[in-house]
């Protein structure tokens, strides 16, 4: 049945989209709120994936626990990179940040390539063979569902971090007015470092959750960098929720594109949508009108 195929595609899209959303929310915090142009975002996701992969192959612990370790590791990496590399060029033009993070991304990707080789790997967990049947025509793969549930929980946590915690409030205050925020006693560097690290940890966690359902190879993060920017722009820059919604939309659009036009066009459709939004409605689909 055609309708069932479409429904199945939408469900798969939502499951993928939740993981996209996590990557996108991380970048929304870093780029949308903190205005740090992070071209290494996908590379950090890849690092989270490899961290989980290495820990899994060494210890055999489930990736559904190890993603936490990956998140903590990437938080540390993010903090160190902010203070070591980004803070020294604070206040310089966006281009410097772009080139710096582009360089960090290349070092991460090719460093991993050097250590682990270019081969594709996939991990094998018992859950992989299980399918959940929703009625006679629709089935979903169990690991996707588990990853989805955890991703939604982490996304909620991220939302609460930004809206409810002092650090999140401070981050939004800086976004509103970066000159008066320090006058209110906000330590801009510390808040930026924390936000950067949290955003990268979100990408790392998404990587850990993708591991059971994805192939892993050094360049796996490359397409996610641009995709994450697509989500942030679609979602309307400063909106964490917007980026999350945009992630779900992207997942469904890709899934439907794959169904009707073929898998190879999914990425192209993403970018065409992105260019259309940039040229027609730069404030994003979910964003409020703002200069």
């Amino acid at each position: 049945m055609d309708l069932y195929a479409a429904l199945q595609a939408v469900i798969n899209g939502v499951l993928t989209g939740a993981l996209y959303a996590l990557v996108g929310m991380g970048l929304a915090l870093i780029f949308g709120v903190m205005r740090i142009v992070n071209f290494a975002h996908g590379a950090f996701m890849m690092l989270g994936m490899y961290a989980t992969y290495v820990l899994f192959t060494r210890t055999g612990i489930s990736p559904y626990l190890l993603f936490i370790v990956a998140g903590i590791m990437l938080f540390g990496v993010g903090y160190a990179i902010y203070y070591g590399l980004l803070r020294p060029i604070h206040g310089k033009s966006d281009f410097m940040q772009i080139l710096l993070t582009l360089g960090i991304g290349l070092i991460a990707t090719d460093g991993v390539l050097l250590i682990f080789g270019a081969d594709y790997h996939q991990i094998n967990i018992p859950l992989l063979g299980k399918n959940l049947h929703l009625g006679p025509h629709i089935a979903v793969n169990a690991p996707w569902v588990v990853s989805f549930v955890i991703a939604v929980a982490v996304a909620l946590g991220l939302y609460l971090f930004v809206t409810r915690t002092m650090a999140g409030r401070a981050a939004r205050a800086i976004a509103q007015n970066r000159y008066s925020a320090p006058l209110m006693g906000i330590n801009v560097f510390r808040v930026q470092a924390t936000s950067f690290a949290v955003g990268i940890a979100a990408a790392g966690i998404a990587g850990g959750l993708l591991l059971p359902v994805f192939y892993i190879y050094p360049q796996v993060g490359d397409q996610f960098t641009l995709k994450a920017f697509v989500m942030v722009v679609l979602g309307g820059m400063e909106s964490i929720v917007g980026a999350a919604l945009a992630g779900l939309v992207l997942g469904v659009v890709e899934s439907l594109t794959s169904l009707y036009w073929g898998n190879e066009w999914a990425l192209a459709v993403d970018f065409v949508i992105f260019l259309l939004v940039l040229s027609l409605k730069p404030s994003g689909i979910f964003g409020r009108q703002k200069a």
Partner: protein
């Protein structure tokens, strides 16, 4: 640029043309070809990325247009390869119009993202339309030269670099060049004094696209074969930008110096790191941003200026003391 500089540049051009009389090995000539090719590409990029300050990370689009133009038009239209090169240039101009039309309204990171997205869309189209472009398998490219090809391609690359260099010198001294620099420094102020920023940027991008497409055609013709992931990949865009930024964006000599440094470094590290040779690009990018934000030539020039200035002050101080 003084007359003596022009004479020096011309002398270097003539000497470069004579190199194949001494260097006979194909391998060395191919490395030198790459150095000159990327010098020309860096110079082309510099017009828009350096002088106009519009960081394009999508120059693979024009490079690929030139490469695929030469690859596809002779077979499809039955025209000679050299006319196909011109057709490829026209396609690149069309791409520049489209990309510029959309992305020049955007600023900062949005502009960069738009240029990347455009090049990526072109790459995916080339990959996914196997009936037209050969898809991932690729397509054969007619050779532009026959006989001793290594030498001919080397000469062609030198001539292209000279062309790009002469264009850069001409633009940097013309009113047009000053418009570009004004836009780079402050676009709003440039607009307020009557510079048509959109038109000026578009013109610079089109010149840049023409030169880049010529390089793309030359590159494709040397390898006799193109695939999308080679000529339209983001790695090509990055490499072009890194060459110019490393040497010094917005300087006349920067891209040439950048190409010499980057291409020799990557040739050395290719043997050590094998497929992970982009690592050196990453390291160079980080080093440039943190320690040489104006590139090699820009930093050296600033240092020389400072020395000249302080040297002058010291000399006059001495003069005062002697009096």
């Amino acid at each position: 640029m003084k007359r003596s500089h022009l004479i020096a540049a011309f002398a270097i051009f003539i000497l470069s043309l004579l190199v194949p009389l001494v260097v006979q090995t194909g391998y060395l000539l191919q490395i030198l070809f790459r150095v000159y090719l990327f010098a020309a590409l860096g110079l082309a990029w510099n017009l828009i990325g350096g002088y106009a300050g519009q960081l394009s990370l999508g120059h693979a689009a024009y490079f690929g247009a030139g490469a695929y133009g030469l690859a596809l038009f002779p077979g499809k239209l039955g025209i000679s390869p050299w006319i196909a090169v011109l057709m490829g240039v026209i396609v690149a101009l069309g791409c520049a119009l489209l990309i510029g039309g959309v992305s020049f309204r955007l600023r900062g990171p949005y502009f960069v993202l738009a240029t990347i997205a455009f090049a990526e869309v072109l790459r995916l189209i080339a990959k996914n339309l196997p009936d037209v472009t050969g898809g991932d398998v690729g397509v054969q490219v007619p050779g532009l030269f026959h006989g001793n090809v290594n030498r001919a391609f080397y000469w062609a690359a030198v001539v292209l670099t000279a062309l790009a260099f002469a264009t850069t010198v001409a633009i940097s001294r013309a009113r047009f060049g000053y418009y570009l620099m004004a836009i780079r420094e402050d676009e709003d102020t440039a607009l307020s004094v009557g510079i048509g920023a959109a038109r000026t940027k578009l013109a610079a991008l089109m010149v840049s696209a023409v030169l880049t497409a010529l390089c793309g055609a030359l590159y494709a013709s040397l390898f006799l074969y193109v695939v999308p992931d080679q000529v339209l990949s983001i790695d090509v865009s990055n490499e072009i930008a890194i060459v110019a930024m490393l040497g010094g964006a917005g300087t006349v000599l920067g891209p040439i110096v950048g190409s010499v440094v980057l291409e020799s470094a990557s040739e050395i590290f290719k043997n050590i790191f094998k497929e992970a040779h982009l690592l050196i690009y990453g390291v160079l990018l980080v080093v440039v941003v943190l320690f040489l934000p104006e590139g090699i030539v820009g930093t050296l020039a600033a240092r020389l200026r400072r020395r000249a200035l302080f040297g002058g002050i010291k000399a006059s101080a001495k003069g005062v003391a002697n009096n």
